[in-house]
C-alpha cells in the first residue's frame, strides 16, 4: 500500500510539475515546419529572447515535417487540442480554419500603433486577410519559384540562361545531348511539379485566367491556356528534360537536390527557400556555381513575363482561439519577426516580408529575388494553397498524372474543372 502511495505521489509530481512550483507559469506552445538548415534555431532563439524578457512565460517550440504537419494540425483542431501558435500558408486552407472558428482574429493586435502598416510589405497581408480581418502574421520568407541553375555546367557547354520558352527547349536539348538531365524533379510530393504548370498558365494567359476559374467568376479550368500548359509540360517530359522516376522521389527527404549536388542535373524550378537549403547543405555549390533565372517568357503568350508565382510571407503564424494567453502569444510573434530575427533570417538566406528588407540584403542571389518580387506586377499564390483543400488535392493529383503521362492535357483540364464545378455545386 505504501509503495502504491509513493508511486502515485511520484506520478503526480511528474505530471503536475508546474503545479508544484511556487510561481504560476504561463505556457505557450508553438508549432512550425522550419526544420531544415537554421530553421529550428531561428525560432528557438526568438523564443529564448522572449522568455528571458518574460520569465513568467514558458514557450515550447515544436518543429515538424511539412506534410505530416498538415494532418496533425487538423487532428489537433478537431480534438480541441490545437497549439497556441500554429502556421499556415494563408489562402484556402487558412480560410477553412477561419470559417470553422479555429483562428483568432488578429486585426486589433496588428493595427495597434499601426504595427502591421509600418512593419510588413502590403502584399504579404493579402493571403491572410479575409472579410477585411487579418488572421495571421507573415514571418518566414518571401518565396517565389525561380529556376536555380548550375553556372559551371552552363559554362561547360557554352549555354546562356534562357529568356524564352524556345530558348529553354534549346538549352535542354543541348544538355540532354551531353548526358546531363536539364531539370531535377522530386514529384512524390506533387506540388513540386505544379510550379511548371502555374508559371506556364501565367505566361500564356496572365493571372486572370486562373483567378476567374478558381473563383467561379466566368472562367474555367478547361480554358485553352490550361490545356496548352499541360501540352508544353508533356513535350518537356517526352524530350527527357526530367530525371527518370521523378514521380517516386521525395522532395522532403532531399532526393531532388541530390541530382543537383552530383552535377547530374543542371536546373531546378523551386521556391526561393531552396537557397537556404543550398546554403546549409552544400555551401561550396552555393558559393561557386549557383545562379537563378526568372521563369522564361512564352512566345505568343499575353502574360507579363515579370509576374512571379509564390508567396510573400510563406509561413504565416496564427493564434488559436483556445489559446489561454493570446496577448503573450502575439508578443512572442513580434519577437519572431523583430529586427534581430529579421537579421538572422537574412543571414540564413531568407527574405522576411518586412518593409525596407531590400536595403538590408547584400547577398547577390537574395537581392535578385527581392528585385524580382518588387518588379512583379502580380504574385500568383501556389494553386494548392489558394484553392480549398479538397480541390488543392485534386490539382496536385492531376499534376502527378500529367507529368507521368497517365492522362492527356485535355483530361487534366477536364478533371480539374469537373472537381471545381462539383465542389461549388454547379
Amino acid at each position: 500500500m505504501r509503495k502504491v502511495f509513493i508511486l502515485v505521489l511520484v506520478a503526480a509530481m511528474l505530471i503536475g510539475g508546474g503545479v508544484v512550483s511556487a510561481r504560476q507559469e504561463k505556457s505557450i506552445t508553438m508549432w512550425h515546419i522550419q526544420n531544415t538548415g537554421d530553421g529550428p534555431e531561428l525560432l528557438q532563439q526568438a523564443a529564448d529572447r522572449y522568455m528571458a524578457d518574460n520569465p513568467d512565460v514558458s514557450v515550447e517550440v515544436v518543429p515538424m515535417q511539412n506534410d505530416p504537419y498538415k494532418t496533425r494540425i487538423r487532428t489537433a483542431m478537431g480534438a480541441g487540442d490545437a497549439p497556441c501558435i500554429f502556421l499556415s500558408w494563408g489562402g484556402g486552407p487558412l480560410y477553412e480554419y477561419v470559417k470553422a472558428d479555429q483562428v483568432l482574429d488578429l486585426t486589433d493586435y496588428m493595427n495597434a500603433d499601426d504595427y502591421a502598416a509600418n512593419r510588413f510589405v502590403p502584399a504579404s497581408l493579402s493571403n491572410v486577410t479575409f472579410d477585411g480581418k487579418i488572421y495571421g502574421v507573415p514571418v518566414e520568407n518571401t518565396s517565389v519559384a525561380v529556376i536555380f541553375y548550375n553556372k559551371a555546367i552552363f559554362e561547360q557547354y557554352g549555354l546562356e540562361p534562357p529568356a524564352t520558352w524556345d530558348e529553354l527547349l534549346a538549352v535542354s536539348q543541348t544538355l540532354i545531348d551531353n548526358g546531363v538531365t536539364p531539370f531535377s524533379l522530386a514529384n512524390k510530393t506533387k506540388w513540386t511539379s505544379s510550379m511548371y504548370y502555374m508559371y506556364l498558365v501565367d505566361r500564356i494567359a496572365g493571372p486572370e485566367v486562373f483567378a476567374s476559374a478558381a473563383n467561379r467568376t466566368g472562367g474555367s479550368f478547361e480554358d485553352p491556356a490550361f490545356v496548352q500548359a499541360g501540352q508544353m509540360i508533356q513535350d518537356l517530359v517526352n524530350m527527357g528534360a526530367f530525371n527518370e522516376g521523378f514521380n517516386g522521389l521525395d522532395y522532403d527527404t532531399g532526393q531532388g537536390r541530390m541530382l543537383i549536388y552530383a552535377n547530374q542535373a543542371a536546373m531546378e524550378l523551386m521556391g526561393s527557400w531552396e537557397i537556404g537549403n543550398f546554403l546549409s547543405e552544400n555551401e561550396a555549390f552555393y558559393a561557386e556555381d549557383l545562379g537563378i533565372i526568372p521563369f522564361p517568357a512564352v512566345e505568343g503568350g499575353v502574360g507579363d513575363p515579370s509576374n512571379v508565382v509564390g508567396t510573400v510571407g510563406d509561413n504565416y503564424y496564427s493564434i488559436s482561439p483556445t489559446c489561454e494567453y493570446p496577448d503573450e502569444a502575439f508578443e512572442l510573434l513580434q519577437y519572431v519577426i523583430d529586427d534581430e530575427s529579421v537579421a538572422a533570417r537574412i543571414e540564413s538566406g531568407r527574405v522576411p516580408p518586412v518593409k525596407g528588407v531590400a536595403d538590408l540584403i547584400e547577398e547577390p542571389i537574395l537581392k535578385q529575388i527581392v528585385e524580382l518580387v518588387e518588379n512583379a506586377n502580380s504574385v500568383q499564390l501556389w494553386y494548392d494553397q489558394y484553392l480549398p483543400p479538397e480541390l488543392g488535392e485534386v490539382h496536385k493529383d492531376t499534376m502527378q498524372a500529367l507529368f507521368g503521362l497517365d492522362i492527356t492535357p485535355e483530361e487534366a483540364a477536364q478533371q480539374q474543372e469537373a472537381a471545381v464545378a462539383e465542389y461549388y455545386g454547379e
Binding site: 498538415k70 494532418t71 487538423r74 487532428t75 483542431m77 478537431g78 477553412e96 480554419y97 470559417k99 470553422a100 472558428d101 479555429q102 514529384n187 512524390k188 506533387k190 530525371n243 527518370e244 522516376g245 521523378f246 514521380n247 517516386g248 522521389l249 521525395d250 527527404t253 532526393q255 541530390m258 541530382l259 552530383a262 547530374q264 480549398p388 483543400p389 479538397e390 488543392g392 488535392e393 485534386v394 493529383d397 502527378q400 498524372a401 507521368g404 497517365d406 492522362i407
Partner: protein, 295 residues
C-alpha cells in the same frame, strides 16, 4: 450454484477488457459508421447530414475499387511469398539449431522486425532511388541494364516494389512463429518417425506440417487482415502514387479524411473497409477450418 458463480467470475474478469474495448474499438467503429452519413470537414462544429450520398459516391468511385484490387494483390503476394519463405527459414533454423552460426543467422533474419516501418520506408526510398540507390547500379554492374526501373516512380512497378519491402519486413515474424510451433512438437514423435525410416523431409511433410496447421492458419489470417488494412510503408514510400498506382484502401481513406478535409467520405471508406475485411476474414476462417477437419 457453482455454475452461476463461475459465470459471474468470468464476467468479472472480462469486464475491464470489455470496457476498454468498447471505448477504444467498438465505439470508434460505430461513430465512423455514423459519420459516413454526414458531410463534415473534420474541424467545423456543424455536420451536414447527407444520407447515403457518401455511400453511393463510394460505389461509383473507380479509385476506391482500384485500391481494393491493389489490396487483393498485396494479400495474394503476401500469402504466396511470406508463408513459404517463413516456413522454409523456420525449418532451416530448426535443423541447424546445434550450430553456433545459426544463432547469428536467426538474429540477422529477425532484424527487420525490430525496425520501425517509417525508418524502413525511408531507407528503401533511397535503396530504390533510380540513380543514387542500390538496385539499379547493382543491375548495371552485372550487365542487366534492361532490368533497371524507376522503381517507385513507375506506375507498373511501384506497387510490387513496395510489396517486396512489406515481405522483407514481415517474413521474420512468421519465421519466429513457425519456429516456435515446430519446436512445440514433442521430440519423441520425430524420434519415432526416424526410427520407422522416415527421412527428415518426409518427417516435415507428413508429421510436422500437419501438426502446426493451427499456427499456419492463424498466420494466414493475420497476414490477410494485415494486408487488407495495410498503410504505413505505402504511405511513407509512395503515398499511394504515382497516379494511384499503389493506392490501398487505407491510404485512400487517409487522403480523403485528412489532406482533403472530407471526413464524412473518409469515414464511408473506413466503414466499407471494415465490412470488406470482416467478410473476407470470416470466409477465410470457415474455409480453412473446413479444410482442417478433412485432414
Amino acid at each position: 450454484m457453482a455454475a452461476r458463480e463461475t459465470t459471474w467470475t468470468i464476467i468479472l474478469f472480462l469486464l475491464p477488457t470489455l470496457v476498454f474495448l468498447s471505448i477504444f474499438v467498438i465505439w470508434p467503429i460505430v461513430s465512423s459508421f455514423r459519420l459516413s452519413f454526414f458531410e463534415w470537414d473534420g474541424i467545423n462544429p456543424v455536420k451536414d447530414p447527407v444520407g447515403l450520398d457518401n455511400w453511393s459516391r463510394l460505389i461509383h468511385d473507380g479509385i476506391f475499387w482500384k485500391a481494393f484490387r491493389n489490396n487483393l494483390t498485396v494479400v495474394t503476394l503476401s500469402l504466396a511469398v511470406q508463408m513459404p519463405i517463413g516456413m522454409g527459414l523456420a525449418i532451416l533454423l530448426e535443423q541447424g539449431e546445434k550450430l553456433f552460426i545459426f544463432k547469428i543467422f536467426k538474429t540477422v533474419y529477425f532484424f527487420p522486425m525490430l525496425m520501425s516501418s517509417v525508418a524502413i520506408g525511408i531507407l528503401f526510398k533511397y535503396v530504390y532511388d533510380p540513380i543514387f540507390g542500390i538496385i539499379n547500379p547493382a543491375l548495371e554492374a552485372v550487365g542487366l541494364e534492361a532490368w533497371t526501373r524507376s522503381w517507385l516512380g513507375d506506375t507498373g512497378v511501384a506497387l510490387y516494389a513496395v510489396i517486396a519491402v512489406i515481405c522483407w519486413q514481415y517474413i521474420p515474424f512468421y519465421m519466429i512463429l513457425f519456429l516456435a510451433a515446430l519446436r512445440g512438437i514433442p521430440e519423441d514423435l520425430r524420434d519415432a518417425a526416424l526410427m520407422d525410416g522416415a527421412t527428415e523431409p518426409r518427417y516435415y511433410r507428413s508429421i510436422a506440417l500437419p501438426l502446426v496447421q493451427g499456427t499456419l492458419r492463424t498466420a494466414m489470417i493475420l497476414s490477410l487482415i494485415g494486408s487488407l488494412k495495410y498503410f504505413d510503408l505505402i504511405w511513407v514510400m509512395t503515398e499511394g502514387g504515382p497516379s494511384n498506382a499503389s493506392e490501398l484502401m487505407a491510404t485512400y481513406m487517409y487522403k480523403k479524411a485528412f489532406p482533403s478535409f472530407e471526413m464524412g467520405y473518409g469515414s464511408a471508406v473506413a466503414s466499407a473497409m471494415f465490412i470488406i475485411v470482416m467478410v473476407i476474414a470470416l470466409v477465410m476462417q470457415s474455409l480453412t477450418s473446413r479444410f482442417e477437419t478433412e485432414v
